[in-house]
Amino acid sequence: MEEAGGLAATWPGLEPAHAARPEAGRGPVRDHESHDGVETSPGLEHLDDVTLVDAVRSGGREAFDLLVVRHRRAVYQVCYRFTGNHEDASDLSQEVFLRAYRGLTSFKGSAAFATWLYRIAVNACLSRSAGQKPQADVLDPDRHVDTAHVAADVALARSRMAARVRAAVAQLPRKQRATVILRVYHDLPHEQIAKVLGSSVGAVKANFFHAVRNLRRLLGEAEN
């Protein structure tokens, strides 16, 4: 099965921190191409997020459908990173958009809509995960690794490593975990992460540094 592409640009409207990444060849999948489940007006597609938000406030529900189409993949991926399984990520994604819809009146437009949505997603994930350990999907090399092109033993090793990394990330303190997810998997600049988490840039950098050091320790422990 095809893995999710590079996550750098999965959130429209945000500049990735790195211009190029090792997996840059696997571009993001644009969600605009197919949305049979919810029809959106073709006339809206060229509008930016803020204009769509205004349209929703004026009663244009289909503008919100388009916002969902634009951002659903990124929201789902954030949720998956926090929860470690598809079911919870799916439920949380729905909850995030519902919260966003309810709270559109509080969106001032001073930050990007995507940043605002990230904040809702992170808060929802942290609320859900409080006092609850992430339930990783059952280890399934066929699902997590493209076994068609990789030898079975290599695929298994990668799958085990992935499970160890997920477990290590899950053990991080909340803000460190959020920082790692937003920085490493979504390539948000430190400044953007600071806005999402309501922290200072310095705090984000310090969190990130400690997070990586903790991950190094946790992965080392898992190896031994």
């Binding site: 799916s90 729905q94 990394v165």
Partner: protein, 199 residues
């Protein structure tokens, strides 16, 4: 030996491919800082390598539809059709099916007692219409009485929504959507009606 090593912020910048030239040169010459940078880079590479499994291609549209539906559910006023344990769509289809089938059955089988009754009933216009119905009931017209009773029951179940929403083909869909028990109940109603004198 270096008197001063890089701060964690600068180390992080170098790890992420940034940092000033003097800092990068420092890393090249300072074994301790180089070790730190290499270790952090290796950790980040291992973490970054873990990807989110791609869900089914159908999932995205399904997610959109769920979100759209949950918003619609929140916004929709509490409908009388949403009876306990019966989804609104099911309730509406059931009523539509019953009403349409009974109306068809009555249209086929009902013979008015006399033409004057038919003339009285043919233009139910506002209050006059309901007067006409009362007349028909008084005259013992069981077919019309059945419809009136049905309308009274249906009105309690949001008759206005029901009638307003009737579309071509809806009766067929409604009948297909009925459970076995509902279908049996409908057949019972129709058979009762067919057994009425004059049917």
């Amino acid at each position: 030996m270096w008197a001063r090593h890089l701060s964690r912020e600068v180390l992080l910048a170098v790890v992420e491919g940034g940092g000033d030239v003097p800092d990068r040169e420092h890393v090249e010459r300072c074994e301790r800082c180089r070790r730190d940078v290499d270790a952090l880079r290796a950790t980040l590479a291992a973490v970054r390598d873990v990807e989110v499994p791609e869900p089914s291609p159908l999932f995205w549209d399904h997610l959109s539809a769920r979100i759209s539906q949950s918003i619609a559910d929140e916004e929709a006023p509490a409908s009388a059709a949403r009876t306990v344990g019966v989804p609104a769509w099911r309730s509406g289809l059931w009523l539509t099916g019953v009403a349409t089938a009974v109306a068809l059955a009555v249209m086929v089988t009902w013979q008015p007692a006399d033409r004057s009754t038919l003339a009285t009933l043919s233009v139910p216009n506002g209050e006059a219409g309901w007067d006409a119905e009362a007349t028909a009931v008084e005259q013992g017209d069981t077919g019309w009485e059945f419809l009136v009773n049905l309308a009274v029951v249906a009105e309690e179940e949001s008759w206005g929504e029901l009638v307003g929403g009737v579309q071509p083909g809806m009766a067929d869909r409604a009948l297909q959507a009925l459970s076995d028990a509902e279908r049996t109940a409908l057949i019972g109603l129709l058979e009762t009606e067919m057994r009425q004198p004059g049917s």
